[in-house]
């Protein structure tokens, strides 16, 4: 099916002229068609469904992520916000502008307009709740807090900046077009004005994970292939075991997941002057082929027992070894991170860049936290990275058509 573009609709509306009236923008609300949600494309991904999109969706190329703090005090206001966010997200993911008041001369358009003429570009909007939301007394949500939703404890190697951590709510907007992702966050922030304030936000310019068998493995800013051993969405068994919340509850989280975000600053200047061999030993993979050390193909399994010259072929402190499922009691996580840069580190004059690490799982306490504790203590990569931001969010299940994300919690 050919995706119907915003531009196409706009043009045809304009050509039909008479009766469209003021502004001529409203006309493209008619007849949105849904395109296939294939990887690396311009089509649209359904917003409504059993799970929220943006988790098992083949990772898009671009990210805009934002954490918000609630300033409203009542549950009713939170509910109204989530209703409006869901409605707007459904419109945006379909490639439609938000609302129907976009051509009233005396009113600011409901949609800010920068995606007019752009394709849906596989936009997904994923909404989550931070632990602090459940601590807000007036909301009286304390008893609904999932046991798995705990603030990430201090971990070895953390150098966290409070302003880039935490948040009552989060929105992850992913798209293959950076402007479409930005537009989503901008408009949701606008809708939320007076109810939430943005606490921090992060742009990601390139995916660093592969979440589908149809995707190639991308490289992170260290120049290595990242996420080779990631869970693939097609592996529904692994998704069920490691990503989707099941019977363990609470019931309102069933079909949801937990998101951990870590803003990982890479000390690229230091990394770039490390010898190739040192880089490969730190990661545990060959830089160009992506194969594990001692192997020849990216897809070859890790052989953690292999030795060469009396030493482990994959060093004991190599990143792939410490992060591997077999070193972590078989536990896995779904990684979905993005490379970022935010200009220049003002105090050092160096590139402020790295990995905005995102991962989804059933229980961060049993998955991300122990893995990161091991990595933070021993990972050879620690010489080249700093964890500067941290947050965790409960990602409720998807909304039914006409419903809203968070309905299972608030209704």
């Amino acid at each position: 099916m050919t995706p119907t573009t915003r531009r196409h609709l706009l043009a045809s509306a304009g050509a039909g002229a008479a009766g469209i009236g003021l502004g001529g923008v409203s006309g493209y609300l008619i007849g949105q068609e849904t395109a296939e949600a294939s990887s690396g494309g311009t089509g649209s991904v359904a917003f409504y469904g059993e799970h929220q999109a943006g988790i098992d969706t083949p990772a898009q190329d671009r990210l805009h992520f934002a954490a918000f703090d609630l300033v409203a005090e009542s549950r009713a206001e939170l509910r109204e916000l989530l209703r409006e966010w869901s409605r707007a997200a459904a419109e945006m993911t379909a490639g439609d502008p938000i609302g129907d008041a976009n051509g009233v001369p005396l009113a600011p358009p409901e949609d800010t307009g920068e995606t007019v003429g752009l394709l849906p570009s596989r936009l997904t909007v994923t909404i989550g709740f931070g632990p602090s939301l459940f601590e807000r007394r007036r909301l009286a949500l304390r008893r609904k807090r999932p046991p798995a939703l705990q603030k990430i404890p201090a971990l070895p190697g953390d150098e966290l900046n409070g302003e880039e951590s935490g948040g009552d709510l989060c929105v992850q907007a992913c798209s293959d077009d950076p402007q479409v992702a930005f537009h989503a966050i901008r408009n949701l922030a606008r809708i939320g004005r007076g109810t939430v304030v943005m606490r921090w936000s992060q742009l990601g310019f390139g995916r660093t994970s592969t979440t589908s068998r149809n995707q190639d493995t991308p490289r992170n800013l260290m120049g290595f292939k990242d996420g080779t051993a990631n869970i693939r969405a097609e592996d529904t068994d692994a998704m069920r075991r490691f990503v989707w919340v099941g019977d363990e509850g609470p019931a309102w989280m069933r079909g949801g997941s937990y998101l951990v975000s870590r803003r990982i600053r890479m000390l690229l200047e230091v990394w770039d002057r490390s010898a190739l061999e040192d880089q490969e030993q730190a990661i545990g993979r060959h830089k160009y082929s992506g194969a594990a050390l001692g192997e020849s193909d990216e897809s070859d399994p890790l052989d953690l027992e292999a030795e060469s010259g009396g030493k482990p072929t994959i060093p004991v402190d190599a990143h792939v070894r410490l992060a591997s499922a077999s070193m972590n009691g078989g536990v896995r996580i779904l990684r979905r991170g993005y490379s970022f840069t935010d200009g220049v580190d003002e105090s050092l004059g160096e590139l402020e860049a790295g990995l905005f690490f995102l991962c989804f799982q059933r229980d961060p306490q049993r998955q991300f936290v122990p893995i990161q504790r091991r990595l933070g203590s021993n990972d050879a990569l620690n010489e080249y990275i700093k964890h500067v931001g941290s947050a965790v969010f409960a990602i409720p299940p998807g909304a039914r058509q006409g419903g809203y994300v968070g309905e299972t919690l608030l209704s």
């Binding site: 706009l10 002229a17 001529g24 409203s26 009233v104 001369p105 005396l106 606008r190 004005r193 304030v197």
Partner: protein
């Protein structure tokens, strides 16, 4: 001094565009009641037709690019002022916009065409449709304007006298009280073209040789600690303010303008008060901040009955948000004034800015709600 672009600003209205009166343009599907549609094409030659006649009233301009790559824009101007336009109409695209025009000669402008400019002649008088309720709103706001221009003169006169007498300390003490009434009604002052820059321009807003008004004296007082050379500036300031008072007495006001004015005042807060740019030498920005909010509130209250009829929920939300802002300003109050802007932390300004944004977002919905009311 206005630094943000405004769509339906008082300025545009002051020049004779009556777009604001347009009755019943509440929805994007319906053109204004009784609107006449005029079709124009963009061609290599320019606007087609490039000479047209219309009767005063609401007009929908339907513009189509008929296959030119040279022209992609259509504007209607009154002199040099753009009243309405459609941009980015590349080959095959079309669009529309509406204006309510009073009698006069307007310019049709198709930049890039062989003959860029054409003429639209509008004849007949616009019928003003104003209900008693609207009249009440306007007269409430007019009272507020006149009260504040009178206060502006009575507060500026002693300030000017202190400057002329060379009394730096006294002038400093009298500066903030003189600023308050001006900041409350600034959008109206801006509608009189040159008057606002003359009274309120900041350094670099205008060429150095033309810089005059409050902020020249502010700089002399706080940076040079002197009134040297300021006598002429102070005398001119008082004369400009008196001219403002005369003009305000006869200004033509409409309810939608008043509602837009509230919005513009909050735009002022966001753009220059919460950033500390407006009062960069005296740092009394929070005084201006409060005055802008008070002015916005007075403007809102003038039209509130019109809004309450259409959307009582919105009216309530706006009132609640005004209260929140006053409550947030309270900790910074010292005597009759406020702490210096320099004492505010980033967390302080961030909280205030967020609340202003939240209120402004709501206020921006008001004009369309009360139009034709």
């Amino acid at each position: 001094m206005q630094r943000i672009p405004v769509r339906n600003s008082l300025i545009a209205v002051g020049i004779g565009l009556a777009a604001i009166v347009a009755p019943g343009c509440g929805s994007s599907e319906d053109p204004p009641l009784g609107a006449k549609t005029m079709a124009f094409q963009l061609t290599d030659a320019g606007c087609v037709p490039n000479s047209a006649k219309a009767a005063a009233g609401p007009i929908v301009f339907e513009v189509e690019n008929a296959g030119t790559s040279k022209v992609s824009e259509f504007e209607v101007l009154d002199g040099d002022t753009i009243l309405g336009e459609k941009e980015n109409l590349s080959d095959g695209l079309s669009g529309s916009f509406s204006l309510t025009l009073d009698q006069g000669e307007y310019v049709l402008y198709c930049p890039g065409g062989d003959d860029e400019k054409g003429t639209l002649t509008v004849s007949g008088k616009l019928k003003a449709e104003t209900s008693p309720q609207v009249e009440d709103s306007i007269s409430r706001y007019r009272d507020y304007l006149e009260k504040n221009t009178a206060e502006l003169i009575s507060a500026t006169a002693p300030f000017v006298a202190a400057v002329e007498a060379g009394d730096v300390e006294k002038a400093k003490a009298l500066y903030a009280p003189a600023r308050v009434p001006y900041e409350r009604i600034e959008p109206v002052a801006e509608s009189f073209g040159e008057l606002d820059p003359r009274i309120d321009a900041r350094e670099n807003d205008v060429p150095a040789s033309e810089w005059s008004g409050f902020h020249v004296i502010e700089k002399a007082l706080w940076v040079d600690d002197s009134t040297g050379g300021m006598t002429a500036v102070a005398t001119q300031l008082l004369a400009d303010i008196e001219e403002l008072q005369r003009k305000v007495k006869t200004v033509d006001l409409q309810a939608v303008q008043i509602a837009n004015g509230a919005n513009e005042l909050l735009g002022e807060v966001s753009a220059s008060k919460i950033t500390g740019e407006e009062e960069r030498y005296s740092h009394i920005d929070l005084v201006d901040f409060e005055a802008n909010v008070e002015g916005a509130e007075a403007a809102f209250e003038s039209v509130e009955p019109l809004l309450s009829e259409k959307d009582p929920k919105l009216a309530k939300e706006i009132e609640a948000q005004f209260s929140k802002i006053y409550a947030s300003l309270k900790p910074y109050r010292r005597g009759n004034g406020f702490v210096s802007y320099a004492e505010l932390t980033q967390a302080d300004t961030r909280k205030l800015a967020q609340q202003v944004d939240a209120l402004a977002e709501l206020l921006s919905e008001v004009p369309a709600q009360i139009v034709g009311g």
